[in-house]
């Protein structure tokens, strides 16, 4: 077993559920989420990378998922491959109930909007960061998020108010500057 295949095995054993759960936020269904995790694993481990810990690998695999979802939305061929694999599954297992209301609400959004919502409200990225990550205009991201929140708020019983920037505080080394 090579070092990277061992890391894949360890990653799925230790973090598989979290990867699938994150993917499910992006695509809405458990079966599709497993396909997305599969594609992300292939994308990450098809090239040599310095990933020495499970935590690094999990972060890297997760970071590739949004772009895969966007690419699928853009690429008919890619969608066809995902669909073909869906047909290959012997029987569609029902989605788990836990957190299902959230996933059901999210999958009512278009793929791009759904990705924007997850990056903003789960990953705490800023609007400019999302725009840069997905290669779309900041204005487009804002519009997606405003429309999405308006749609999701009554379904999930959440406030329709939201900040464009995450509620985080940048820690500055004041002592260092004061010297």
């Amino acid at each position: 077993m090579t070092r990277w295949t061992g890391l894949v095995e360890e990653l799925m054993r230790e973090r598989g559920p979290r990867l699938v759960a994150y993917a499910a936020l992006l695509v809405g269904r458990d079966g599709d989420a497993e396909d997305l995790v599969h594609d992300a694993l292939v994308k990450v481990f098809s090239r040599p990378r310095r990933l020495s810990t499970v935590g690094e690998a999990e972060a890297y695999v997760r970071s590739t998922m949004p772009s895969i979802v966007i690419d699928r939305a853009r690429s008919a061929a890619s969608r066809r491959r995902a669909r073909d694999r869906a047909f290959e599954r012997p029987r569609e297992a029902p989605d788990l109930d836990a957190g299902l209301d959230v996933r059901r609400a999210l999958r009512g959004l278009s793929p791009r909007v759904q990705v924007c919502v997850v990056l903003r409200f789960f990953d705490d990225l800023t609007v400019p960061q999302i725009a840069q990550r997905l290669g779309i205009a900041e204005g487009t991201v804002k519009r997606y998020l405003h429309d999405a929140v308006a749609q999701l708020a009554p379904l999930l019983d959440v406030t329709a108010d939201w900040d464009e920037e995450p509620r985080t505080v940048e820690v500055v080394a004041a002592l260092e500057r004061g010297r």
């Binding site: 295949t5 095995e9 699938v20 994150y22 990378r49 705490d124």
Partner: protein, 338 residues
């Protein structure tokens, strides 16, 4: 009323816990690992890229043939004693005869291991011109050729390159493909192939794209088939000829050439375009001759050309200083050692 962030995170945690209790498909990771392994194999430039052993006087070298990792190695003639001598400087130039019209730029040998026999990053052009690259202030190995700047090694993204040796073929269209290398033995598998492009090319045929696709059928890496490389209404087939017969496979959009059942038995691999306006067909053919491996020339150690680092200084993706096309490539007059 709750915040969106809290609802998403609660939903995620509940779902992850339930998945942990129910169990994730155990085949998910192993299936992905197999797919990643296939991609790594296909990305290898030559059939025996990772293990092309040069044993000189013994006369036979075993190398992996790609595809099924469980398949036994095939036996092929080894490189000549001349090629074995390349071990003193293992940077064999890519075989220009196997390029066809592919938009090929250069081959890069990357071995950043601290204990490597030949540490560093070296680029070799098809004419044998070669240069050793030095990292810039950011640790990047950049190379300018004919007005384009290529990222040969970028530690921030290709971080695995400092603990393994690789050979990567770069194309002028920005694509690149490569694979593992032992850092010592010359890469010679592409010398078993010669690509022929007919002189008369019908209108609407893009021999550059077709050549790139054809190279995927001979283990040298390239782009998948694009329908835009032939005229509207035309169809393209992959034609693989062995001693026992010929097989044809229709080429679909984005597909690579079909793998041969036995690489050593292949006599030729071709792309045949039919349904051309006015009738007729057009083919480009890669001929296979393992004896070609016996005719590998080493680069001349004295023929090293210093790259012009000023062309890449301060360069950034999508920006950076403009690179003048003239004078950006090393002098092409360097000869290959016999």
């Amino acid at each position: 009323m709750r915040e969106m962030n809290d609802v998403l995170r609660d939903g995620f945690e509940a779902h992850a816990s339930a998945l942990g209790a129910a169990g994730v498909d155990p085949g998910l990771g192993s299936g992905a690992a197999r797919a990643a392994h296939r991609r790594r194999t296909r990305r290898a430039i030559g059939s025996g890229l990772g293990a092309a052993a040069v044993v000189g006087a013994v006369g036979v070298a075993a190398f992996a043939v790609g595809g099924d990792p469980a398949a036994p190695p095939a036996a092929v003639p080894a490189a000549t004693s001349d090629a074995a001598d390349c071990a003193a400087l293992p940077y064999v130039a890519p075989n220009a005869a196997a390029l066809g019209d592919a938009p090929y730029a250069f081959r890069a040998y990357v071995d950043l291991r601290a204990d490597a026999v030949h540490p560093g990053v070296v680029v070799v052009l098809p004419d044998g011109t070669w240069s050793r690259l030095e990292p810039d202030a950011e640790g990047r190995y950049l190379y300018a050729l004919d007005g384009q700047v290529y990222i040969v090694s970028w530690p921030r993204e290709e971080t695995g390159l400092d603990d393994m040796a690789m050979v990567v073929d770069h194309s002028t269209d920005g694509s690149a493909g490569g694979g593992d290398w032992d850092g010592v033995n010359p890469v010679v598998a592409d010398y078993a192939w010669t690509v022929d492009i007919p002189a008369d090319v019908p209108d609407g045929i893009d021999t550059a794209l077709l050549s790139s696709t054809l190279r995927t059928g001979i283990g040298l890496g390239g782009l998948g088939y694009l329908g835009t490389s032939v005229p509207a209404g035309a169809t393209t087939e992959a034609v693989v000829t062995t001693a026992s017969g010929t097989t044809t496979t229709p080429m679909g959009e984005g597909s690579a050439m079909p793998p041969a059942a036995d690489d050593t038995a292949v006599e030729s691999v071709a792309l045949r375009v039919s349904g051309l306006p006015g009738g007729g067909t057009f083919s480009i053919v890669a001929h296979h001759d393992l004896a070609g491996i016996l005719d590998v020339a080493c680069v001349d150690p004295a023929a090293e050309v210093a790259p012009d680092m000023s062309l890449t200084a301060g360069w950034e993706p999508g920006g950076g200083p403009a690179v003048e096309p003239s004078g950006s490539s090393p002098a092409p007059s360097v000869s290959l050692a016999e």
